[in-house]
Structures are given as structure tokens and as C-alpha cells.
């Protein structure tokens, strides 16, 4: 190896000595050979000539000797690189156009790939993350996916499965962290003691939970998330041992987590299950239907997900058979185990893959464009190349040189693209944060850089190969013709094909963007069923203690009265949630059991599911949700009289198809026992509670009577944002110890609820725009080249009497023919590919005719302009000059 390096070194850096040696060596041979021939009776002159013939010429032999050296390949490569760099320096316009085009393509791909890699491909930051699975309980026939788990269900899977090493549970709760004069809501994850051991997470500070922490009666302990520790505890290094008051007892901090994405939810603090007042109550633990938790598990070593799934399906049917009252056969109970890595990125997956495909398309267009530029440049070089071929340069050598130049170009483009990538990625990350926790792991690092390098070199080879091999005329035909004004037909065809392909791919992207835009416009036009403007909402959380179920009733009344009295507040209401609540957007409608009087569910019926909202009397008036039948709630309903409910139109349609629901009675299942019958007094209009794109589900609105619902909703007469501080202060005037958070306007929540379609529309639009710009600049370049190549022909036509406009339209026609062919091809491609977008489209068919027509029109107009600009160059041609040109 060392020898080899030494020899390469000698070859590259001791050229002169090597050349002298080679020269002397051959001279010696020739001399001896000449002497030999002289000795055989030849004249000195003839002998020398014969000697030279014998060795096959001195220079070719020298060249072959040099070729035998390893350093030669490197030297050639360096020569080619230097030559390529010189060419690029001499053609700054070409170099800049090609590099910027490539940089856009490669930069876009690098940014999207960083996201795809970080979210979908990077191994989980947990020890042996591949063994972690998430358990999902489904009741497929009852249309319930992702039913939460009860304590008993988790215990069953833990005890009866054979493939799971451990099962852990998780649920989120909000608790108040109390200090002397204020209270703060903390998102609390309630987990099994072995939660962190199963995930394989080591604490940054202190320790994680041990089995003893989960025992009832042990001291309450907390683990802080890294984010919460940084933002709320100022990264206090002495935090371990600090005591917080929570749920009316002291909690000691025992650890701080490292900065990792938290699954299944981002939380501020963690506590063991025994510390959650709800989870630890005997009634909750004993009831198989008290479902609140998420469950996940670590597979035993060597067990595949499929094996675990088979095992768990058996357990599920055992559970189903043992508890027929809880899992009626008609519900179709099942359990699905899915790998955590897939589960954690489930919501982002489809979107990311579509974006990666789209970015790939943009890169293809960029490649085609640069290939065309390169072809145009080679055309000018044809003569030089022909001369070199005639002088003995092999075709392989010339191809190698063209390829080196194109790869040099693409690598430079890639470097430039890397400069674009971080800002683009920052925007992407901000947009995708809402979809998966793993966005936090997205960064441009080794694997991403490797990807960038690979696609850079790959694109260089792809766009370099086409022109390199199209030049079959290098054998010298171009040279023999003595003129390069007639370019070879095959190369012309190749350029046309590249333009058609570029146009087709651009049209596909444009069609995709058009569909997304149309769908997004449709979505924004959806009537939400209420009026979201100037609505401010906040979550108000009283602590228990100091409050009791009796005192919170009064607290709610007081808060509402005081807030309504604030100048600038039109009206205010309290409710358990509000439309477009981001929490509801993720989880979807809840499933509550209810029964209509006189319509007992038959055994085979699927249990009706409904969302129950508890509201104060003026809720409908406040959010301006119309009451279409019967009456709204009154203040009297809050205080006394029989309990009443209001249902929405969707429920009325489903359950009272041909009758008036007002006056009918329903009852609810509360922890396995039925509540008294409650009368329906009104029907409210449907509201798009879970986002404009989601159908309105069945809703029942109950009136608040006892207790407290923690959403304050106020309609202001001024800008709601400007009112936030005043309203907050007013609430704290009533009770300084309630925590206030999630302060937002409903309009903002509506805007956020459309984040996903907006992101897709925006990105597809940007990519399509990029594609159109790149391909149209490509069309313009090719047209300009065609005109300059045909200068002579055009000159003749004009000399023979063709007028300028006829010549312009001839050139235009040829350009537009390519564009039309590409557009037609692109439409066909779009029709075939747009199905992939169907999950992202709202109220728009993937083959929406109007969109396709509009998109092709738009593209044709832009492309026509791109054709027209170079076609006008024709008018500058002077027939006299053109004819003399040679």
C-alpha cells in the first residue's frame, strides 16, 4: 500500500524525473536496436527508421508506459477537473444557470430528505427502539379505533401474552403545581414505574422511577422533562430533591430527562400511576370500562412484530370471550401492535412521502434542464472534440471528460444547495412540528450529507451521460462536414425529448398544486356552523383544594359575571371544550354510551357514539351556533328544574329520522349505571368541531349544573388579542390561585386546524412554481439555441421573401409543438398520479377537470411566453449577415 502511494506520489510530483527516465530508457533501446540493424548491413538512417518502427513509435510507446502507471488515472481526473473548472470559468452564464438550477433541485431534496430521515428513518433515540410496539384496541365494527386501555385490560395483556417482555402504560393529566401566590398547570404524564426502563431512557440528572415509587403509600415523586426543566426551572442543576405542592401533597423531584422526543405526548412532568388521584382510585382500577391509558410494550428479544401480533390476537379473543358484556361480539374487538417507530410518525408519513416524490420530480426537471444546457455547450465544442478525436483521443476519454465536467457542476450545485437547505429546513420543521414529536430530531448530519453527495454525483452522471453518448459523431463526421451549423439529428431529438419530459413533469406538479389549492379554497369556504371571529378562549383550572365541588360552582358563576362586565366583552360562556380545540383535533370524537327512551339498543346494534359537551346557558348565543328547533338553554336550566339537553342536527338526523326529537328523553351510561332520563329541549345546528374538513359528528350538549367546566369563551367587540390580558387579570381578580393557560382566539385555532392542508398546498405550490420556472427557462434556452443554429436557414428563407412574422411563427410553432406534447403527456401522468393526493384533498376529485384545464392553460401561457422571447431573436437576423456567416 505504502509502495503504491509512493508510486502515485512519484508520478504526480516528480514528473520531470520520470519523463527523463522514460526518455533515456527508450533512447537506449532505440540506440541498441539501431546498432543491431546497422550490424545487419543497413545504413545508419534506415536502421534508425526501422528501430522506431519496431517499437511502434516513440511517443505512443511513452504514452502507453505512462498509462501503465496508477497515478495516471488520478492525474487525468485532476486534469479533467481543472479543465472543467476552466470551462465553467470561461462560461460564467452557463455555469451560473446550471449551478443555480441544480442547487434549487438538490437543496429542496436535501431539506425534504432531512425531514424524511429524521422522522421516518432515523432509529428511535431509545435503546433497541426496534423492539418497542404500541398497542391499539379497536372495535372495528363499532367504528372505534384506538380505544383507550383500562387497568384491567393492560394487566390482561401483561399477564397473558408470551411475546412481550414488558407492558407499560401512559396517560396525560393536567395538575396544578401550587406555589404560595400562584398556580400553574403542568402537563403530567402518569406512567408505570418501569416506563423509562422499557424505553431505555437514562436520566440526565438523578434517577428514573423504581418499583417502590409506584407502591401505594410511598412518597410522591416527580421526574421533569428536559424542556420543562429548562423553560420553567431555568435548568437549575440543584433541582433534585426540590419539593412541589401538587394534588394537595408534596412531590419530590427525583430526576430530569435528557432532551429526547417524548412519546406518546410531550409532557412537563412524569409521575408513577399510584400518584394520579383518578388512576389510583379503587373504582377506576376495578372497572374494565374505565379506559384512559395508552399502552406500549417491549418485545422479547428475537420476537418479530408479526409473531407478537399473532400472540396478542389470541390474548384479545381470550379477553373478549371472558367478558362478553364489555366486548359484545358485534363490536368486533381486536388488538393491533404497531412498531413505535411507525406509529410515532404515522400522521406525517403520507405527507412526507408525497413531498419527497415531488422534490424528486423537481430534481429531474433540473437535470433535464442542465442536460440541455450541456448539450448546447457541447454543440459549440463539437469541432474541438472532433479535432481531438481525430488526433487519437479515445471516445471513452472524451466521455470521461464530459462526465467529469457535469459531475463537477452538480457537486458545486450541491454545495450551493446545501447553503439553501438549512433555511428551507427551518421553515419545513416549523410547519411539521404539529405532526410528530420526531421533528425535534431533524437535522442535517452525516446520513443527510451522504444523501446530498449521492444525489449530486448521481444527477451529474445522469445529465452528463445523455449528452456524452449522444455525441456519436465524434469519430469525425462533424469535422468532415466542415461546418457545425447542421447539428446531428439525434441530438436535436434528444433535446426535444428533454423539453417534452420537463414540460410533462412540470405539468404533473402544477396539476398537483392546482388540486391542493382548489381543495384548500373549498375547505376555507366551508361554513363552520358558528361564528369564530373575535372569540377568545382560555383554559381556567382551579386547584382542589383550595376548591371543592361546591365552591367551584360559585367560582364559575363569578368568573363569568366579572368577565361579561369587562368593557369590550360582548358576551362570555363556559364550556368543556370549543370548536377547533387542538386537543379535539388530534383525538377526534369521544365515544359515550347513551340510550333513547323507547329505542332500546338491540343486541346486534352497534353502540351509538356521541360527543358530550357541557356548557353554560349562553354558550350557543356566545359562539352564535343557531338553535334550529325547540329552545336554547336558560339560566334557570343551570340552577333548578329537570335536567335538559340539546342535540345537534346530525344526531337528530341519525336517531330521529322521521320525528321531532324535542320532548324525547335520553339517558347516559355513567360508569356502568344509567343516569335518570333527560329531556331534549332543542336541536342546535351542526358545528365543524373537529376542523372544517371533518364531517360534523353527533353531539349532545348538557347544561352545567354542578362542578366546573374549564373553557372560558368570550366574544369581544375589539380585537380579541388585545383583550386577552384584561380578561386574564379579571379572572385572577376573582381567584389568584387558578391557573390560566391555552389562551388563544378561535380564529387562530381554526387557522391552525388547517395547518396540514395549508402546508401541503404551500409546498406543492412552491415546488410547482420552481418546476415551471426551471422548465420554462429550459424551453427558452433551447429555443434560443435553435434560432442561433438556424440563423443561416432563416437568412435564406428571408432572402427568398419570407416575412419576419412568418419566420417567427414558424419558430414559435416548433416550440409550442413540444410544449403541447409535454402538456398532454403531463396531463395523462397527472391523471394517473393524482390518486396519491386523494387523502389530502377535500371536496375535490383527484382528476378534477376544471383544475386540469386551468393548469394546462396556465402552463401553456407561461410556456408560450418562454417560447416567444427567443423567437423574437429571429427578427434581429439580417439575411445578408446570416448568409455570409460561416
Amino acid at each position: 500500500m505504502a509502495n503504491r502511494l509512493l508510486s502515485i506520489f512519484r508520478f504526480l510530483f516528480r514528473r520531470q524525473k520520470m519523463e527523463q527516465d522514460l526518455d533515456a530508457e527508450l533512447r537506449y533501446h532505440i540506440d541498441r536496436l539501431t546498432e543491431h540493424h546497422v550490424a545487419q548491413g543497413k545504413s545508419r538512417e534506415d536502421a534508425l527508421r526501422q528501430a522506431r518502427i519496431d517499437v511502434g513509435g516513440i511517443e505512443p510507446t511513452k504514452e502507453e508506459c505512462r498509462d501503465a502507471r496508477l497515478g495516471r488515472a488520478i492525474e487525468r481526473f485532476l486534469q479533467d477537473v481543472a479543465y472543467g473548472a476552466r470551462v465553467l470559468r470561461k462560461n460564467p452564464g452557463f455555469a451560473a444557470a446550471a449551478m443555480i438550477t441544480l442547487a434549487l433541485g438538490i437543496g429542496a431534496n436535501t431539506a425534504i430528505f432531512s425531514l424524511v430521515y429524521g422522522v421516518l428513518l432515523r432509529p428511535l433515540p431509545y435503546a433497541q427502539g426496534g423492539q418497542l410496539v404500541v398497542l391499539h384496541q379497536n372495535a372495528a365494527k363499532a367504528h372505534i379505533n384506538d380505544l383507550a386501555f383500562s387497568v384491567k385490560e393492560i394487566a390482561d395483556y401483561r399477564d397473558q401474552s408470551h411475546t412481550l417482555q414488558a407492558v407499560v402504560e401512559h396517560h396525560s393529566m393536567n395538575f396544578l403545581l401550587m406555589s404560595k401566590d400562584s398556580a400553574e398547570r403542568v402537563e403530567t404524564a402518569v406512567v408505570s414505574a418501569n416506563f423509562f426502563d422499557v424505553l431505555g431512557v437514562r436520566p440526565l440528572l438523578g434517577r428514573t422511577f423504581v418499583a417502590g415509587d409506584e407502591a401505594y403509600g410511598s412518597g410522591a415523586v416527580l421526574i421533569l422533562s428536559y424542556k420543562y426543566w429548562q423553560s420553567h426551572q431555568r435548568g437549575d442543576p440543584a433541582i433534585i430533591g426540590k419539593i412541589f405542592q401538587m394534588n394537595d401533597r408534596p412531590h419530590t423531584v427525583i430526576g430530569v430527562l435528557p432532551p429526547i422526543p417524548q412519546y406518546p405526548a410531550e409532557s412537563d412532568v412524569y409521575m408513577p400511576t399510584s400518584q394520579c388521584p383518578y388512576r389510583s382510585s379503587a373504582g377506576f382500577i376495578g372497572n374494565r370500562r374505565s379506559r384512559m391509558m395508552t399502552a406500549f410494550a417491549r418485545l422479547k428479544p428475537g420476537v418479530t412484530t408479526e409473531q407478537a401480533q399473532a400472540d396478542l390476537s389470541v390474548v384479545a379473543s381470550q379477553i373478549e370471550r371472558a367478558n362478553p358484556d364489555v366486548y359484545p361480539a358485534q363490536d368486533g374487538y381486536s388488538l393491533v401492535a404497531s412498531p413505535l417507530r411507525e406509529d410515532i410518525a404515522r400522521r406525517a408519513r403520507a405527507m412526507l412521502l408525497v413531498l419527497l416524490g415531488v422534490a424528486g420530480f423537481v430534481l429531474l426537471i433540473a437535470c433535464a434542464n442542465v442536460a440541455n444546457l450541456l448539450l448546447a455547450r457541447l454543440l459549440k465544442l463539437e469541432r474541438e472534440l472532433a479535432v481531438r478525436a481525430a488526433l487519437g483521443a479515445s471516445k471513452a476519454r472524451l466521455v470521461q471528460q464530459v462526465l467529469t465536467e457535469s459531475v463537477l457542476l452538480s457537486v458545486l450545485g450541491g454545495l450551493l444547495g446545501l447553503a439553501f437547505a438549512p433555511p428551507a429546513l427551518a421553515v419545513l420543521v416549523r410547519f411539521t412540528e404539529g405532526f410528530t414529536q420526531r421533528v425535534a430530531e431533524v437535522r442535517i448530519d452525516g446520513p443527510v450529507l451522504l444523501f446530498t453527495l449521492l444525489i449530486s454525483v448521481g444527477t451529474g452522471v445522469i445529465f452528463g451521460l445523455a449528452p456524452a453518448f449522444s455525441s456519436h459523431g465524434w469519430g469525425g463526421s462533424a469535422f468532415h462536414q466542415g461546418s457545425w451549423s447542421t447539428s446531428s439529428r439525434s441530438r436535436h431529438h434528444l433535446r426535444s425529448a428533454l423539453v417534452v419530459a420537463q414540460v410533462a413533469v412540470s405539468v404533473i406538479l402544477l396539476a398537483g398544486a392546482g388540486l391542493m389549492i382548489r381543495s384548500f379554497v373549498r375547505l376555507q369556504q366551508v361554513n363552520p356552523g358558528f361564528s369564530p371571529d373575535r372569540l377568545l378562549t382560555m383554559r381556567i383550572s382551579p386547584g382542589f383544594p383550595p376548591h371543592t365541588m361546591q365552591t367551584v360552582r360559585l367560582l364559575g358563576d363569578n368568573i363569568l359575571a366579572k368577565v361579561k362586565a369587562v368593557t369590550g366583552v360582548e358576551t362570555a360562556a363556559m364550556a368543556s371544550s370549543f370548536p377547533f380545540n387542538p386537543v379535539g383535533l388530534v383525538s377526534g370524537p369521544g365515544a359515550s354510551d347513551y340510550e333513547i327512551e323507547g329505542k332500546p339498543p338491540s343486541k346486534v346494534d352497534v353502540k351509538p357514539t356521541v360527543d358530550i359537551r357541557i356548557v353554560s346557558a349562553n354558550y350557543f348565543e356566545t359562539i352564535r351556533q343557531p338553535i334550529v328547533k325547540g329552545r336554547s338553554f336558560t339560566v334557570q336550566d343551570e340552577r333548578s328544574g329537570p335536567a335538559v339537553v340539546i342535540i345537534n342536527q346530525s344526531l337528530a338526523r341519525h336517531r330521529f329520522p322521521n320525528e321531532d326529537p324535542v320532548g324525547k328523553r335520553i339517558r347516559f351510561d355513567e360508569m356502568m349505571s344509567w343516569t335518570p332520563w333527560v329531556e331534549i329541549v332543542g336541536v342546535a345546528g351542526d358545528v365543524k368541531e373537529y376542523g372544517l374538513g371533518q364531517p360534523a359528528g353527533d353531539e349532545i350538549y348538557g347544561i352545567i349544573r354542578n362542578g366546573f367546566v374549564n373553557r372560558l369563551i368570550a366574544r369581544t367587540s375589539l380585537d380579541p388579542n388585545s383583550m386577552a390580558a384584561v380578561i386574564r387579570a379579571t379572572v385572577h381578580d376573582v381567584d389568584p390561585l387558578v391557573a390560566i393557560d391555552q389562551l388563544d382566539t378561535v380564529e387562530r385555532a381554526e387557522y391552525d386546524s388547517m395547518a396540514s392542508p395549508r402546508l401541503m398546498t404551500l409546498l406543492l405550490g412552491i415546488f410547482a412554481g420552481l418546476a415551471v420556472v426551471i422548465s420554462c427557462s429550459g424551453i427558452a434556452a433551447v429555443m434560443a439555441l435553435a434560432v442561433s443554429q438556424r440563423t443561416r436557414e432563416i437568412g435564406i428563407r428571408m432572402a427568398l421573401g419570407a416575412n419576419r412574422s412568418a419566420v417567427v411563427s414558424m419558430v414559435l410553432r416548433q416550440g409550442l409543438a413540444l410544449v403541447l406534447a409535454g402538456t398532454a403527456l403531463g396531463m395523462a401522468g397527472a391523471a394517473a398520479l393524482s390518486r396519491l393526493l386523494s387523502t389530502f384533498l377535500y371536496g375535490t376529485s383527484p382528476t378534477d377537470l376544471l383544475t386540469f384545464a386551468a393548469v394546462s392553460m396556465l402552463f401553456l401561457i407561461v410556456a408560450a411566453i418562454a417560447c416567444f422571447i427567443p423567437a423574437r431573436l429571429v427578427t434581429r437576423i439580417d439575411p445578408l449577415i446570416a448568409l455570409r456567416q460561416e
Binding site: D21, E25, R32, L33, D54, V55, G56, P60, E64, A68
Partner: protein
């Protein structure tokens, strides 16, 4: 020159060079002569391919070169076998014997 300037089999030139250098260090011209002499002029080395072959073998580390005064008192580039070259020669020799034996059996020299 007219006689038997048959193309040498691929790789046989390398073997001839190594074998020739086994006896003593030699320059290119000497190698040409030696092969002709020993083969009784049956084998004529194509002088155009001799030098590239020498450079290739040197590149591989099988032979190394030094400048020395030659028999006619001029500086000439002498090649000699390296240790690696000696090992290679043994191997190439065996290969050749196997091949030529097989060839002989097929063509039927008996």
C-alpha cells in the same frame, strides 16, 4: 521480423519478463535479446509492448529498476525481481505449466 511475430498470449509476456529477470537484473533491450536467444528466435517480443509491460510490473511492485552502467558503458535502466516478484513468478510458472500441459493434451503433441 517476418517470422513468427505471433501475438503472445495475454499475460505470457509478463511471465517471460519475470523468468528472464530471475537469472540476473537486465535492461529492456537485454530482455528482448535474451527471450529471442533462449527461444531460438521462435518468440519475438513486440518491442512496442515490452516497455509498457515493464512499467506495469514495476507499478505492481514485482520488479524494481535502477540505473547502472551497461555492458557498452552507457547508463541503462536495469530491472530486477523483488521478493514479491519472485513469489509471483512461482505462481505464474505453475499456471503456465498447467495451461500448456492442458493445451498439449488437447492438441496432441505425442
Amino acid at each position: 521480423m517476418a517470422r513468427a511475430k505471433s501475438e503472445l498470449l495475454q499475460g505470457t509476456l509478463d511471465l517471460l519478463i519475470l523468468k528472464t529477470l530471475e537469472l540476473e537484473p537486465m535492461h529492456g533491450w537485454g530482455i528482448t535479446l535474451r527471450i529471442q536467444q533462449v527461444s531460438e528466435s521462435v518468440l519475438q517480443v513486440n518491442q512496442g509492448s515490452l516497455y509498457p509491460a515493464l512499467h506495469r510490473l514495476e507499478e505492481r511492485g514485482w520488479i524494481r529498476a535502477t540505473w547502472k552502467a551497461s555492458e557498452n558503458n552507457r547508463q541503462a535502466k536495469y530491472y530486477e525481481l523483488t521478493a514479491q516478484g519472485k513469489r509471483q513468478l512461482v505462481e505464474e510458472k505453475q499456471n503456465w505449466l498447467r495451461l500448456s500441459g492442458a493445451m498439449a493434451r488437447i492438441v496432441g503433441t505425442a
